[in-house]
């Protein structure tokens, strides 16, 4: 048994979880340092939630080892729970209770928690203190879920898709709270299928697909591994041949989704004129053309040939 100094918050090796007809997690390794914000990025059904619930001690893995804050779930699960804050994917809390009652209830479970009032203020919920949970908006409910996770004064915060379905303003508010929690030395492990969330919040990101880590690093490292700073997306009528696109200067692996081609490129100034000339030459007509800086989304497309969000 390795009793690592306490600079590792989460460590797991060879996690496997099978359900009746699918392998949700397929030999997954992770290591999250203390004080870090670590993101599991992947499409729906990639195994993010199963993974985070195994780490939270809520799901029993079929194989693999889990170590949280230097201890395991079998040995002292209850002690460990004192040190964790958890927000599940789409948890609903008692609708008939008020915001204040809910946070006080969660506070009562912890020996050394925070002042519920202070957490309410911090999460901008103090004005909603006496509102019923059932009457809250989606953003307010999500902030309440995070408040319930924070009120135990955790060292490690697990957030499963904290901003899914939220409006932009609520997302920003929640990001602020997460950043604030980190500034006090807290560790965060979150799952998301929003690449901008991962890029903005996370020190390191593991891209998960089909129950495995397919890429790991800081957002900057991951994006630079594309070896293309920009992405050109275009469609034309009739379509251009893949071979002719590969032959363009400075183009990485082209990907097609429907009629839309996506080309990772090093320099827009070099590739775009060449692309336009190619369209002209082949007697084709340009239907759309756009460019953006390369993102984790593009990396995911490059790695799997599929989009992060199928919508």
């Amino acid at each position: 048994m390795t009793s690592e100094p306490a600079d590792t918050a989460v460590r797991c090796r060879g996690l496997v979880k099978r359900y009746a007809d699918v392998v949700a997690v397929n030999g997954l390794d992770l290591e999250v340092e203390r004080g870090e914000c670590f993101g599991l990025l992947g499409p729906n059904g990639a195994g993010k939630t199963t993974t985070i619930e195994i780490l939270e001690g809520l799901t029993q893995p079929d194989a693999g080892e889990v170590e949280i804050l230097g201890s395991g779930w079998q040995r002292n699960g209850r002690e460990l729970r004192e040190r964790l804050g958890i927000s599940l994917q789409e948890t609903q809390l008692g609708e008939k209770l008020t915001v204040g009652e809910t946070v006080r209830l969660f506070r009562s479970f912890y020996r050394r928690g925070r002042d519920p009032e202070e957490v309410l203020v911090r999460m901008a919920l103090d004005e909603k203190r006496d509102a019923r949970v059932g009457k809250l908006s989606g953003g307010q409910k999500q902030r309440l879920a995070v408040a319930c996770a924070l009120v135990g004064n955790p060292e490690l915060l697990f957030l499963d898709e904290p901003t899914t379905g939220l409006d932009p303003q609520s997302r920003l508010q929640l990001w602020q709270q997460i950043t604030e929690f980190r500034s006090t030395g807290g560790t965060v492990l979150l799952t998301t299928h929003y690449m901008d969330e991962a890029e903005r919040l996370c020190d390191r990101v593991a891209i998960i697909d089909r129950g495995q880590v397919i890429a790991l690093g800081t957002p900057a490292e991951l994006i630079s591994s594309l070896q293309a700073a920009n992405v050109v997306e275009f469609s034309s009528e009739p379509q251009l041949a893949e071979g002719s696109l590969r032959a363009l200067p400075g183009v990485g692996e082209p990907h097609r989704r429907g009629s839309l081609w996506s080309l990772p490129v090093g320099s827009l100034a070099e590739t775009v004129p060449a692309l336009l000339a190619l369209v002209e030459r082949s007697g084709s007509r340009l239907v759309s053309l756009s460019t953006h800086r390369a993102t984790l989304e593009d990396l995911f497309v490059a790695l799997t040939g599929r989009a992060l969000r199928e919508d």
Partner: protein
């Protein structure tokens, strides 16, 4: 902001959730009283009804029929009307009258022997006609009429409604609250905290028991104030028996909710559990009306035993010794339900 111990917080949250559910308040507190009032009025004690009988008249001015009608009219138990032969048969068949009389001689009584009211009507009609013809009593008799409190229908009903309410409240409150919490993944969220599972389950039971005293006071009080149904036995024993009953049905509610994850599933199981007891366990009518062979089974049901114990205390004034076997049956159901529920309970 002061924070109380987890069991106190959990129980107070459970009680608040209940109080903020207007339907639940209605079913627990108002419904049994309304039911008692409705049934108490419908079956209130009044003088015995006169039994309707018919006399066949072959023509509008049938002298024999007119004489018979007059003789029957003198009976305090009968209400006689004139019918044509056909309409008389119709009235008998449809139950409008209990007996059809053809003036004699010989006098003919037409009636269905399986109907108790028809048999009484026949005896009363015979008595009236024979007396009119000059029959005298051979032996002098004196009748003493009794109407004692404790033997009316409402006296039977109030303990039964109390038992039914203890069952319904216990089963519904636990089954609904726990299933909803599982369905909405609140249970899963709770066990992700250091909360003790026993605290959660205990709070569900305490949250329900908190309403036991108001429930008892309202139903027993309404029975007493509106219908004069007094508790003959000890109030303390009534409370303790109700407490045991409430706990037992909490256990059964927990058992129902131990694995299902939808409200529909829990409702189905709860109805399946309660429906046989509503019918069999002597809430609205005595369970002794069912065949003798099934009596031991019916007696072993928790609601039958609870109702017998409650009737023993309220209407017969029995002490602990007199209801101990029933109380033991109730408690056994409770213990068994809790034991199985805790063993198979799913937290997610």
């Amino acid at each position: 902001m002061t924070v109380r111990p987890p069991l106190v917080e959990l129980t107070s949250c459970r009680a608040k959730e209940f109080l903020r559910e207007p339907e639940a308040i209605f079913w627990v507190f108002a419904f049994p009283v309304l039911l008692a009032i409705a049934l108490g009025l419908a079956f209130r004690a009044k003088g015995p009804d006169k039994i309707p009988v018919g006399v066949v008249a072959v023509s509008p001015a049938d002298p024999a029929a007119a004489r018979t009608l007059a003789e029957l009219g003198r009976s305090p138990a009968l209400l006689a009307h004139r019918y044509s032969p056909e309409s008389g048969q119709d009235a008998l068949r449809t139950g409008k009258i209990s007996l059809l009389v053809e003036a004699g001689p010989p006098v003919v009584f037409r009636f269905d022997e399986t109907r108790p009211d028809s048999r009484i009507a026949r005896l009363e009609a015979d008595e009236a006609l024979q007396r009119a013809a000059g029959r005298r009593d051979a032996v002098p008799v004196r009748a003493e009429k009794v109407t004692e409190k404790g033997s009316r229908y409402i006296d039977f009903l109030i303990p039964g409604l109390l038992g039914m309410n203890l069952m319904g409240t216990g089963i519904w409150s636990l089954a609904f609250s726990v299933t909803t919490a599982r369905n909405r993944r609140i249970l899963k969220r709770l066990i992700a905290t250091p909360m003790r599972k026993s605290h959660y389950l205990l709070s569900q039971i305490l949250g329900r028991l908190g309403f036991l005293i108001p429930e008892l006071v309202i139903l027993v009080g309404a029975g007493w104030l509106l219908f004069g149904v007094a508790v003959k036995g000890s109030l303390t024993l009534l409370f303790l028996t109700s407490l045991v009953g409430a706990m037992t049905f909490c256990g059964m509610g927990l058992l129902i909710a131990s694995r299902v994850s939808t409200i529909e599933g829990a409702s189905g199981l709860a109805n399946l559990t309660m429906l046989p007891m509503w019918l069999l366990s002597g809430v609205f009518f005595s369970s002794e009306r069912f065949p003798k062979a099934v009596q031991p089974l019916i007696d072993a049901l928790p609601l039958t035993a609870l109702n017998q114990a409650l009737r023993g205390i309220i209407t017969e004034g029995r002490g602990l010794g007199g209801i101990a076997p029933q109380l033991a049956i109730v408690a056994l159901w409770g213990l068994a339900s809790f034991a199985v529920a805790l063993k198979i309970f799913r937290w997610r």
